[in-house]
């Protein structure tokens, strides 16, 4: 019998009323007759003719009004600064440090406003590299969430009011013997430290406590236990032949990632006759950016990592004669044995690092490095790193002091403990017992909202400062724009409050440099000349202090007994994402929309879980789960992340901010509460309990939803040993089936023939080479491109519809267990094979990154299908896009084999639906005036920074010479911390790009379709152990 479903009880009863309603679609009568019979309307003075007349007049008036061009004004300077030429950028050397990343930068300004950050090649630390966060920092300057005036009790106030009030409060605190606490992030500025010292002498009860959102206390303390001094040494990854990292994400977030990425890339590149590569082995629980670049990657649960370090120590100590320690077994002990052997083989040329915040684990790491003799080569204890100085113990102690009412005044400087402390609720209640609370925050953030006074600080591009990232490395920070708002540097505020005689911080800084820093050198003989040269160069470096083997005084037995023992059950680990990091820049839309290099998810954080473990637990992607650590629980969506350790859940900190601004508020969940405090140090992993909630699935916006290459050779790969035997290993000649048998790709052409050899490139022929061996997938290029080319931010909703506008994306692929070769062995049919190939390898897939932008095909499929000839080819090899010709058919995007064309589905400027960079007047100031802002309905794509090419060519023409190789560079290539991208002219026989193009590793993406791209890639070479294929 057929089943019948009723729409409702009414249908079941089948009442006459129901039948009547069912049969009438519009069950209420439309009031047509009433309208027509309305006397008022028929006798209305506006007849149909009148209406048409008005309409006609309206249209005519509107079109007439439109014809008249609005009067535009040209307002020149009254007195033009000498260095400004309209239309010509000025560059100023400065430095970026936000308490997290250090980078020596050049700031590009146009008509007095900073629009782009570029690396400063004079710095021997960062060597011209940048990362996504540094690139995005220029946008934070134009953040409308910034405070425009100081606040007093949450109300706008003047500086004199605030100064007077705070000075009296400080005096009160000092007089009553109560503490004045400056709670700041790490401040590696010698002059700032001097100011704090002078402030302390004025107010003797002052205590300066350093608190970083993500702590390196374990590293500092570990070194103190090992060598008697709380410090961080400098690392030289470029000197290391074997690098072993225990969950230190040194290419993305750990300590000084730009510097380390550059060093690391030197050991990875196979250029200019270099035939050796470093070995990189990573032990970790999450899949970090660093881990994804490793030659061998071993998965361990977070609690097993410390024991793995101890086991490695034992293996090495057994050979080198160190004392052995007691340790627990881990699942990777076999691998550890092999790694130990490799390290021993590379004694003195290896490096072991750990990302743990446990001082005892760091003692063991130091012991390993010490036994291996690395303190002479890859680690320099004499070259102290000043980039992290956080003191977890002091922060915890501070809370008890606050609770005891000992603190009279607290000053927050670049810290936001209410947001970033795990026990922020306790901190909040302790804060209530502090007499006066002052914040230097540039916005009314989570902590500033509880402060009595907010003395907002400048953006770093408005500030004077100096930095000493490493002992002897100085970098000046200079303003590149007048302060946009009524803000003031914290240093200057402290000077005012301490009634110091100097007029401002600038005067103080200059004085300090002219007297103290000047004395460190001998070359320049006048303080003024030294100051101006240092300002011009940005950096001033004293000769490097040579490393020396220190005396290791650590107690390894004690350390080994205190490390975490492998636990059972689910563990949660909190980590930093490459884009948002510790969350300080959460209101930066470029960083929010920047897809995470690994998960490709933007605008969110999530609980990353290994797919097989998730399947076991019954979680699917997007399910909302609740993770409980101790008494704190956090709800968030599940992301299936291949290559995670089993029984491990990872979540990124830096999200879930509530008082940061329009773009960043309530994006993701705050994971800091899941951090725990153990032995007076922050602990970023703990045992957890997980439960599935009944909440609706939470959609995540990912820019890449497929994970494998499906058996196609998109990223070509080989191993070092294979490559040494054959320069074209992994990159065999592409052959095409023709009626005359198999032929080489270049021998087959639809268009060109002997008579018609195609287009010539009489002048330039631009090209871009991408070394996949050097590309670490960090995404600096993505944000640099955003800044250079006015790429719109579209928001999570649009990204979910695959409408992101990034001109360059970084594809990330996982290796699959199933290949075309082994499918039949596994008994898979063709369909099943493809189904299985879609799945990343279950256990530990290899990861590859590939930046993809417009390939500037010389036989471009997009060009031939445009009905209005909006996209054409230039005689310099560029695929050009004329936005004003484009009518938006999107045929070109359909026909693009690389899917690099982006369509403007909406007007992203002045549109309240997209409240990001181009909607408020402030945000628009970051736009590059040399690049058009695209409008709705047109296609756009990578132009290979044609504005930079044109600019460089013109400079050469004006000077009457050819452009030098490297003089013209694209934004992506320039920002790259590893120099993986090389831009140049194929017509210049001496150019770097030409040399790379003829290398055996070079290949074109999808060469078999013969679109002859102008961009080429170079095979990724892995330094795998012998016998194991890539």
């Amino acid at each position: 019998m057929e089943k019948k479903y009723w729409k409702g009880v009414e249908e079941l009863n089948n009442s006459p009323e129901f039948t009547r309603l069912r049969d009438n679609e519009f069950f209420e009568n439309l009031p047509i007759d009433e309208v027509l019979q309305n006397k008022a309307s028929s006798t209305s003075s506006t007849s149909r003719r009148d209406f048409l007349k008005f309409l006609g007049f309206g249209v005519a008036a509107a079109s007439l009004a439109a014809c008249e061009a609005p009067v535009k004004k040209a307002i020149p300077y009254v007195v033009k600064p000498e260095e400004i030429t309209y239309g010509v950028p000025d560059y100023y050397a400065s430095a970026f440090f936000d308490g997290n990343d250090y980078c020596s930068v050049l700031v590009k300004t146009r008509e007095g406003r900073p629009i782009k950050i570029e690396g400063n090649e004079l710095s021997s630390v960062t060597k011209g590299g940048t990362n996504a966060r540094v690139q995005a920092s220029v946008l934070s300057l134009y953040d409308s969430a910034r405070l425009t005036t100081p606040l007093s009790s949450k109300k706008k106030a003047t500086w004199s009011e605030v100064d007077a009030a705070i000075t009296s409060k400080l005096a009160q605190s000092a007089a009553s013997g109560k503490k004045i606490v400056i709670l700041s992030s790490t401040l590696p500025s010698p002059t700032t430290k001097k100011i704090i010292t002078e402030f302390s002498s004025k107010y003797p009860t002052t205590e300066h406590i350093v608190y970083d959102a993500v702590s390196y206390y374990g590293l500092l303390k570990g070194n103190e236990l090992s060598f008697g001094k709380s410090m961080i040494p400098s690392y030289r990854f470029d000197n290391a032949e074997v690098i072993v990292s225990f969950a230190a994400d040194y290419l993305a977030t750990w300590l000084s990632p730009i510097e380390f990425a550059r060093q690391y890339a030197i050991t990875r590149k196979l250029r200019d006759g270099k035939k050796n590569m470093s070995r990189h082995i990573q032990f970790e629980s999450t899949l970090s950016l660093t881990g994804s670049n490793a030659d061998n990657r071993y998965k361990l649960k977070p609690s097993q990592l410390s024991s793995a370090v101890a086991n490695l120590y034992n293996k090495i100590a057994a050979v080198t004669g160190g004392a052995s320690v007691s340790s627990s077994a881990t699942p990777q002990d076999k691998a550890i044995e092999k790694v130990a052997q490799e390290l021993l083989n590379a004694k003195g040329k290896s490096l072991v690092v750990s990302g743990s915040n446990d001082p005892n684990e760091q003692v063991l790491v130091n012991a390993i490095n010490h036994l291996l003799g690395n303190y002479n080569t890859t680690i320099n204890l004499n070259q102290e790193c000043n980039l992290r100085a956080s003191n977890d113990a002091a922060v915890i102690e501070l809370m008890s002091k606050m609770n005891a009412g000992e603190v009279g005044t607290i000053i927050f400087w670049n810290t936001n403990p209410i947001y970033s402390l795990p026990n922020s609720k306790d901190f909040q209640s302790a804060l209530a017992k502090v007499g006066t609370k002052v914040s230097f925050s540039d916005r009314e953030d989570e902590t500033a909202q509880y402060c009595d006074y907010v003395a907002p600080e400048h953006h770093y591009l408005e500030s004077w400062n100096d930095l000493e990232p490493y002992k002897g490395y100085y970098n000046l920070v200079q303003p590149t724009i007048r302060p946009l708002f009524n803000t003031r540097q914290p240093q200057e505020s402290l000077m005012k409050w301490a009634a110091m005689p100097q007029a401002d911080y600038y005067a103080y800084l200059e004085e300090n440099w002219k007297s103290n820093v000047y004395a460190l050198q001998t070359g320049i003989t006048s303080g003024h000349a030294f100051w101006t040269q240092s300002l011009r160069n940005g950096v001033f470096e004293v000769a490097v202090t040579a490393p020396s083997a220190p005396a290791f005084t650590g107690n390894v037995q004690d350390a080994a007994s205190k490390i975490t023992k492998p636990g059972t059950g689910v563990e949660l680990v909190a980590y930093e994402k490459t884009g948002i990091a510790n969350g300080a820049h959460a209101n930066n839309p470029w960083l929010q929309e920047f897809p995470d290099p690994i998960s490709k998810v933007c605008w969110d954080n999530y609980f990353a879980i290994l797919p097989s473990y998730a399947a076991k637990m019954g979680y699917k992607q997007g399910n909302v789960i609740e993770v409980k650590v101790g008494n704190t629980s956090v709800k968030g969506p599940v992301l299936l992340q291949p290559a995670m350790a089993d029984e491990t859940i990872a979540i990124a900190v830096g999200y879930g901010r509530t008082k940061v601004g329009k773009a960043g508020n309530n994006v993701g969940v705050n994971a800091y509460p899941l951090v725990t405090i153990a032995n007076a140090a922050m602990k970023y992993y703990s045992a957890a309990t997980v439960s599935k909630t009944i909440e609706d699935d939470y959609p995540l916006a990912a820019t890449q939803t497929h994970h494998t290459m499906m058996g196609r050779e998109i990223v070509k790969e080989t191993t070092l040993s294979a490559w040494l035997k054959d320069a074209k290993a992994g990159n065999p000649e592409e052959m095409i089936e023709t009626p005359y048998g198999k032929k080489k790709v270049e021998d087959v052409d639809l268009w060109a023939s002997q008579k018609n050899p195609g287009f010539d490139r009489p002048n330039h022929s631009w090209g871009l080479g991408i070394d996949l061996n050097a590309c670490i997938g960090c995404g600096a290029c993505v944000v640099a491109c955003n800044a250079e080319n006015n790429v719109a931010v579209v928001g999570k909703d649009e990204v979910m519809r695959s409408r992101e506008m990034h001109w360059i994306r970084i594809d990330r692929y996982y290796s699959s267990d199933v290949t075309k070769e082994n499918a039949s062995e596994k008994g898979l049919g063709k369909l099943d094979m493809y189904g299985e190939m879609e799945k990343p390898a279950a256990e530990n897939p290899d990861v590859v990154f590939q930046p993809v932008m417009c390939q500037h095909c010389n036989s471009a499929p997009c060009e031939t299908v445009c009905p209005v000839v909006a996209t054409t080819h230039s005689s310099e090899g560029l695929n050009m896009m004329a936005y004003n010709r484009c009518v938006g058919t999107r045929y070109c995007a359909n026909n693009c084999p690389y899917k690099v064309r982006r369509f403007n589905w909406f007007e992203y400027t002045n549109n309240d639906k997209f409240p990001y960079t181009m909607t408020d007047n402030l945000g628009k100031m970051v736009l590059n005036p040399d690049v058009v802002v695209r409008s709705r309905g047109v296609m756009e794509k990578c132009s290979m920074c044609v504005q930079r090419i044109q600019y460089g060519k013109l400079e050469a023409k004006k000077a009457g010479r050819r452009p030098l190789d490297g003089e013209i560079n694209t934004a992506c290539a320039q920002s790259c911390p590893t120099n993986a991208l090389v831009f140049g002219d194929y017509n210049d026989p001496q150019s770097e790009v030409n040399k790379l193009a003829v290398d055996g590793r070079s290949y074109h993406l999808l060469a078999e379709i013969k679109v002859k791209p102008g961009v080429f890639y170079q095979t990724k070479v892995r330094n795998k152990e012998e016998g194991k294929e890539a």
Partner: protein, 449 residues
């Protein structure tokens, strides 16, 4: 009845014949052209002769002796006026009465040497003008004399005549070249009048014929019926008129639409009545002195007020508006001319932008001025003759492209082009004109990105 028809028919045929005859004339352009040319020759002849004679008259004195006026404007106007007011140096009205020609000669040739020689008058003037030295002029004696002669004649005319008033004649001359719409109207009225007269004559004749034949007067139709009949009888005429009207309308409409956004001839009133004619024309100040960006950057830039002050700190009064316009610069830069000091209350001058290239087009001045060695006037027109600047060129893409098709690239002497030049000559032949389009000057991404 029959004759009426025949007459009408005849008239119509006449008309048709007339039309066909006309078209025949049009079909033989050569003869008509020749005849036209022949007709014009005498006129041209007379015109050329006139021009020649005029030339001889105007040029002959300049060959014989230096032009005092021109020399004065070239050398002296930046610091002196023929008047009573001081500019940088003293007003020169009646200077010939104050000093002898000999004294003036010595002073103008080398005032510093003259002062050193200890002439009391010379020293006195030098002291009076705060020891601002007048530069030495390498002028010949007769040239200086011609300048003095010019000062003499100018001094006798009082007051100073503003230069703007002298161009009254040119405007009329320009107008006479084009036939004014009044003439067309007159012709139209004449034709209509003629038609009306002929129509009446014809009707009168018809009536006479009818009376002679004893026919009855035809029924005269009135009002709408008459119009309807007329329309019915003139279908072809109406059709032709309609077609002509539509074609005319379309052409005009198309032109109007194509002209949207083109502001050729745009000549707004500027906040300061700055005369390019005076500065670039009379005083021959190089364009790039003020528009210094033209050789360096994308923008030629409107000079900031401090550039104006390089001269106008001293030149405090202009020949046409006196101090009125120059004081606006002082107001902007907050300069007190009496004390010669700057204040802090500066307000930028809000010029009206004349050349508004749309955002979608990238134009770089230095590419054209420095590399392409294009004269400013090529695009901006005779700015040195413009009292008030106007947009000379249409600034349309077609205009850009035409120029790129016709202009040869200045490759010689520029190291950037050396190899390209030889390569292109190989490709296009040694005599080839290497225009901008041959090196990719028409490609989209040269201007649009």
């Amino acid at each position: 009845m029959g004759s009426r028809i025949s007459l009408c028919y005849f008239w119509r045929r006449e008309k048709r014949l007339l039309l066909s005859e006309m078209s025949k004339i049009n079909l033989i352009p050569q003869t008509s052209k020749q005849s036209n040319m022949l007709r014009y020759v005498p006129r041209y002849l007379s015109f050329t002769l006139l021009a020649f004679i005029l030339n001889v008259i105007t040029l002959s004195p300049s060959i014989a002796q230096p032009n005092g006026e021109a020399l004065f404007k070239q050398n002296c106007t930046s610091c002196h006026v023929v008047g009573d007011n001081k500019v940088v140096g003293p007003g020169l009205k009646n200077v010939h009465k104050k000093q002898s020609d000999e004294w003036l000669l010595k002073w103008i040739k080398n005032s510093q040497a003259f002062i050193k020689s200890g002439d009391p008058d010379a020293v006195k003037i030098y002291e009076e003008f705060n020891k601002i030295a007048m530069p030495a002029f390498a002028l010949k004696e007769d040239e200086i004399k011609s300048i003095i002669a010019y000062i003499k004649t100018e001094s006798d005319k009082a007051p100073v005549i503003a230069p703007g008033t002298t161009d009254a004649g040119t405007g009329a001359a320009v107008e006479s070249k084009e036939t004014s719409p009044l003439v067309y109207l007159l012709v139209l009225v004449l034709i209509i009048g003629l038609y009306a007269i002929l129509n009446r004559v014809q009707k009168g004749l018809e009536r006479v014929v009818r009376q002679r034949d004893g026919e009855a007067e035809p029924i005269v139709l009135k009002g709408k019926t008459r119009t309807k009949h007329w329309i019915r009888e003139h279908k072809k005429l109406i059709a032709i008129l309609l077609i002509v009207g539509m074609v005319y309308g379309s052409v005009k409409g198309w032109d109007a639409l194509a002209g949207i956004g083109i502001s050729q001839g745009y000549q707004p009133d500027q906040p300061i009545k700055f005369s390019h004619k005076l500065h670039a024309g009379t005083n021959k100040i190089d364009c790039r002195y003020c528009h210094s960006g033209a050789e360096k950057a994308k923008n030629a830039n409107i000079p900031s007020a401090n550039v104006c002050m390089n001269c106008h700190k001293y030149v405090q009064s202009g020949p046409k508006y006196g101090t009125e316009e120059i004081s606006k610069i002082y107001k902007a830069i907050d300069f007190d001319p009496a004390k010669g000091v700057y204040g802090t209350n500066q307000k930028p001058i809000q010029w009206i932008r004349i050349h508004n290239l749309p955002d979608l087009a990238y134009f770089n001045h230095s590419q054209h001025v420095k590399v392409g060695k294009v004269e400013c006037q090529t695009c901006h027109g005779p700015v040195q003759e413009m009292e008030q600047v106007q947009q000379f060129s249409p600034l349309t893409m077609g205009w850009c492209i035409n120029c790129h098709r016709n202009t040869e690239v200045k490759m010689e002497g520029n190291g950037y082009y050396t190899k390209l030049h030889t390569d292109l000559l190989k490709k296009y032949g040694p005599q080839a004109k290497l225009t901008v389009d041959k090196i990719g000057g028409l490609e989209c991404a040269r201007c649009h990105y």
